[in-house]
């Protein structure tokens, strides 16, 4: 059963208070064996408490699936990119490295990539994803576009990003200030920054000299 078209997911980092309720709620869900599929990234831990929740943005052309050598990552008709199919995933980490948003997580103990599937079991029957249902500041919101425009007059959703030469359109929207000029967020801008909230400890991009066009 597909997720209803009218309902969309909105991430509003400006509203995030870092309470970690989303992580707790996600962890308690049984469909992914007690692992949290949402990440709460600190923007600059040394100087700020600002956090950004990151769920899978469900790209129209998912890079994780493009790079999967085992043909394990599939996208359902409603645009949800599902967790790797267990029988196919070879735990090669390609998707983990390739995702512009750092979403897929390799569960080494299970040899399986697991990622946010927007609580497919809930959203496909019209319920909110766990994280959106518990978020006290509604930094994670699930609803219609009209509802969002009415409730947040100063923000607008953006779902197009730039990753190097690749333009990415996503199912999940990021809320940005409405008055700000429309600009496409370049995800690669921060590629040489140290990784945060990421399970890969080695920075794979350290070998690339500065200014190299990744």
């Amino acid at each position: 059963m597909p997720v209803p078209d009218a309902l969309e997911f909105f991430i509003d980092p400006g509203r995030c208070i870092g309470c970690q309720a989303c992580i707790q709620a996600c962890t308690e869900c049984d469909t992914h064996k007690g692992q949290s599929m949402i990440q709460l990234d600190y923007v600059d831990r040394a100087h700020s408490t600002q956090t950004v929740p990151v769920v899978c943005l469900h790209c129209d052309s998912p890079t994780c699936a493009e790079v999967c050598p085992a043909d394990a990552i599939k996208r359902t008709e409603d645009g949800i990119v599902q967790t790797a199919r267990k029988a196919r995933c070879i735990a090669c980490n390609n998707c983990v490295l390739a995702c512009p948003f750092g979403v897929p997580k390799m569960q080494t103990k299970m040899n399986l990539m697991m990622k946010c599937d927007m609580c497919y079991d809930r959203t496909s029957v019209g319920l909110k994803p766990w994280c959106a249902s518990v978020c006290p500041s509604q930094a994670l919101a699930f609803g219609t576009r009209e509802e969002m425009a009415r409730l947040r007059p100063h923000a607008k959703p953006v779902n197009t990003f730039q990753f190097g030469m690749q333009t990415i359109r996503t199912k999940v929207n990021i809320m940005v200030p409405r008055d700000a000029p429309t600009e496409i967020v370049d995800v690669t801008a921060a590629i040489h920054e140290p990784t945060i909230g990421h399970e890969i400890l080695d920075d794979v991009f350290m070998e690339i000299p500065d200014g190299g066009d990744a």
Binding site: I73, K74, E77, V158, T160, R169
Partner: protein, 190 residues
């Protein structure tokens, strides 16, 4: 490449499936991309189609094979009954002696062994394991295949030891007027 500004604010176009990164339609994509679709429904379709193809073709091959076997056995010519042929004279071999012969003409080599005054036995010389020629070991009452140390009973041709599992095909003999005649060949039995 200048990123398209279209759709930055508008709702997504939900009618299409996964768009390849270069944005061209699926028909223009390389074969591997069409063979390994990202969309769940197409992927399921490919798997089902492959399975159906496999089942249909394998079943068809089995059916054709069955008919082929039936047709072959129906059309096969039955070999003419063998006629007796003299293969040796009694005096030619001493007791314990052996010689090879072919029966019927053009067959694989057969082995004739004289085991007594009027007692002869004859078998196919090819070991039933891997077709090495067997040699008589008359003093042991056996036939020996030296390739893999296989042993056969000289009296019956049954395997005694080693890798062979089936008996040597036996040549039926008839001794008359000082001559040994081969009169038929018994198929190998386990």
């Amino acid at each position: 490449m200048i990123p398209s500004q279209r759709g930055v604010e508008g709702p997504r176009d939900l009618d299409h499936g996964t768009v390849p990164p270069d944005g061209r339609p699926m028909a223009e994509q390389p074969k591997w991309r069409r063979d390994f679709p990202i969309d769940w429904a197409q992927d399921e379709y490919v798997s089902r189609r492959e399975l159906t193809k496999f089942i249909v073709l394998t079943s068809a091959a089995l059916v054709v094979g069955q008919f082929w076997i039936v047709l072959k056995s129906a059309l096969a010519r039955r070999p003419a009954p063998l006629v007796g042929e003299p293969i040796a004279s009694v005096d030619e071999l001493s007791i314990g002696g052996a010689k090879t012969f072919t029966y019927p003409e053009g067959s694989t080599p057969r082995l004739l062994v004289r085991t007594g005054a009027t007692a002869f036995v004859a078998y196919d010389q090819q070991c039933t394991h891997l077709l090495c020629p067997v040699v008589p070991a008359v003093e042991l009452g056996r036939l020996h295949c030296p390739c893999h140390n296989g042993w056969f009973d000289l009296e019956t041709g049954r395997p005694l030891a080693g890798p062979p599992q089936r008996a040597l095909p036996r040549v039926l003999l008839h001794v008359r007027d000082g001559s040994v005649y081969a009169t038929g060949v018994e198929a190998s039995a386990t």
